[in-house]
């Protein structure tokens, strides 16, 4: 689709040279100069960027640009009240709806600030119609430290319906020397400050090769999971949004699942020791996550009641908010505790330090492809067996067991994804995910209401609420 194309110049000299050549060679008009100050905002996992959207705060005006079709939405922020963090902090309207559909429960964080001097030119056709825009920009990027990077670039902006003219223009520019840079202004600015746009993912993204020794492959998987945990700690402690804890917990759960792979590869006591450690960490975060979910679903729960009764839920949610504050404080302390630090250090030692002789068992040297096939097949058979046993009389517990088994199967598939044809394995993973969500919905129908659902999930119910029930 219509997309700006960027060309980066090594220095001002080359920039001026190209500018001069363009002015001589093309029917350009305009030459308007403007200063622009932009603070780019996105979620921690760059959800907007990944959807081709750029959100900036420019002088108290929020602008959401779609780099796909060049369209934009804007919203003036009130002079007071500061930056919105969540979609619900914005006034109702299309801006909020658009943002919400992409960022969902995540908070907006500043990504990078840029100050630009822009020289705006138009390319016109024989009718005097603008068929492309050219912006020469000096972009100063706020780094983490005091030194600021300045990038000299040219942005060629297409106009809808004039693709041919745009192609000719960019070819013309390329012929003058500069090569088009991939990405957009955000990724370019981030690159200049040594970062990469959209590089965080909560998914297991490891690249294994079939003949890689199993011991090495497993450590690669586990290291990636540990990295995900560590990246999310700060956001949990600062309480930026609920996804940090969620991603952290998923990484912990996946770690425990990956640990079940190490039989015959590393000594059994490694598995036992760390499974207990990670189970403990997971358990300590259960309450905070449960309370997060109640608050995230507040609207949904409230709407289950007739309007006249809805206000009656407020005292309950007040209690949940207070309990959640307490649970957050406790878990943040846990992350800062010596025992947590020691667990992580021991785990890092196992993952990163060279093995002493005898630490690895014979299986560690076997190619990982054999291990992957064997273990996935076992999980698959078990899930199939459990699934076949489900009928109309099955209990919630049976369904829950099946659900957990399917999740374990999915985790295995995700660990070894890179060993199999991408389209086939992605399809299987997608199906397993869908199955799980369908299950969730059924469970939701069976347990209507906060308290009953909590019971079904074996969740600790706030003391005060247990009182209310009777």
């Amino acid at each position: 689709m219509d997309n700006s194309l960027y060309f980066i110049f090594e220095d001002e000299g080359t920039r001026d040279e190209v500018l001069g050549q363009l002015k001589n060679g093309l029917p350009l008009t305009g030459d308007r100069r403007a200063e622009r100050k932009q603070l780019y905002l996105d979620t921690y996992d760059h959800r907007l960027y990944k959807k081709g959207l750029l959100l900036t705060n420019e002088d108290g005006r929020l602008i959401l640009r779609d780099t796909g079709d060049g369209s934009s939405l804007s919203l003036d922020l009130p002079a007071y009240g500061g930056m919105p963090r969540f979609w619900r902090d914005l006034p109702e309207g299309p801006f909020r709806d658009n943002l919400r559909s992409v960022i969902d429960v995540r908070a907006l964080l500043p990504v990078v600030g840029v100050e630009s001097l822009v020289n705006h030119l138009y390319l016109e056709n024989e009718d005097g119609k603008t068929v492309a825009h050219i912006n020469f920009e000096d972009v100063e990027v706020d780094g983490d430290n005091a030194d600021k990077a300045v990038i000299h670039l040219l942005e060629a902006v297409p106009v809808r319906g004039y693709a041919g003219e745009f192609e000719n223009l960019t070819r013309y520019i390329s012929a003058l020397g500069p090569a088009p840079a991939g990405g957009n202004i955000l990724s370019i600015a981030l690159g200049a400050s040594g970062k990469k746009a959209g590089d965080y993912t909560s998914k297991v993204s490891v690249v294994l090769t079939p003949d890689m020794p199993s011991g090495e492959a497993i450590k690669i998987i586990l290291r990636s999971l540990l990295e995900t945990m560590r990246k999310n700690e700060d956001g949990i402690v600062k309480d930026i949004d609920t996804e940090f804890l969620h991603d952290f917990r998923v990484a912990v759960r996946r770690t425990r699942s990956a640990l079940t792979l190490i039989r015959g590869i590393f000594p059994e006591n490694v598995k036992e020791e760390f499974k207990t450690e990670f189970a403990g960490i997971g358990k300590k975060s259960n309450e905070l996550r449960d309370l997060d979910i109640y608050l995230l679903r507040r609207e949904e729960y409230t709407e289950m009641l007739p309007p006249a009764l809805r206000a009656g839920l407020d005292p309950l949610f007040d209690i949940i908010v207070r309990e959640r504050e307490e649970a957050h404080r406790e878990f943040a302390l846990e992350l800062a505790s010596d025992s947590y630090r020691r667990s992580i250090e021991a785990w890092e030692k196992f993952l990163y330090e060279p093995e002493a002789p005898g630490d690895a068992l014979p299986g560690a040297a076997e190619p990982v492809i054999g291990l992957a096939k064997l273990r996935i097949r076992k999980r698959y058979k078990k899930a199939l067996k459990l699934g076949k046993a489900i009928d109309g009389s099955s209990s919630d517990r049976d369904l829950h067991t099946l659900r957990i088994e399917c999740k374990k199967l999915r985790y295995y598939l995700e660990f070894f994804e890179s060993l199999f044809p991408a389209d086939e394995i992605k399809e299987v993973i997608r199906h397993l995910k869908k199955r799980r969500q369908g299950e969730h919905r059924r469970r939701g129908r069976a347990h209507i209401g906060v308290i009953r659902e909590a019971e079904g999930n074996k969740v600790r119910i706030p003391r005060q609420v247990r009182g209310v029930r009777r």
Binding site: G70, S72, L73, S74, D127, G128, K129, Y162
Partner: protein, 253 residues
Amino acid sequence: MITLALYSMKGGVGKTAAAVNLAHLASAGTCRTLICDLDPQGASSYYFRIKASRNFNSSKFIKGGRFIDENIKGTDYPNLDLLPSKLSYRNLDLALDEMKNSKFRLRKIFGEIEHEYDYLFLDCPPGISLVSENVFNAADYIFVPLIPTTLSVMTYEKLLDFFTNKEYDAGRLYAFFSMVESKKSLHREIMEKIESGGHNVLRTRIPYRSDIERMGVYREPVTAFLPQSDSARIYADLWEEIRGITGKGGSEG
């Protein structure tokens, strides 16, 4: 998407001038706006210096879908696009007549781009034809520029009769006075008569002004090339009034 038609049975009443300036004003509030030029004369396309692609024509237009998508062009103004017309649009009636649900064809093809735009302006050809009926079925609101002359008023009354006979909702029909020369007593008298006649008539009156005529020279909306002028201000008043009617008044922009 809100669809607004600028329509009149009579030609030369200021339809295109209104469509072009109103669409420009609508898009300035960061609302994604499209003008669809339905008139084979292509005046609104001309005002925006836009020519349709060589291989675009009326039968492709009424096929909709990718033919629309590929032929929409960006104007020189942010958030404002235009679907240019072709001379072959003179055959639009015939082409529509061959379609199933021939009176609802435009509604269907505009429905496909509903989520791309906040406003769609239809710059309609004069006359009353199958194209007009498509417009009446596709538009949420129909705005009729009215020169305050006896003949114009008579034509407007015919349109109202047509709406009644064909059971179209005349509540969506709004007239506004256009090319008004307030020095002429006849203009004044007719305007007073119509305004007191119980019709939907907008308060804003578009005067006869040379700077509006000059749009053909500058090939830009008057709200763009003379934003501080009286003409631009009057179109802005008209747009505010229309926004109030379409329920988008005040909060946006």
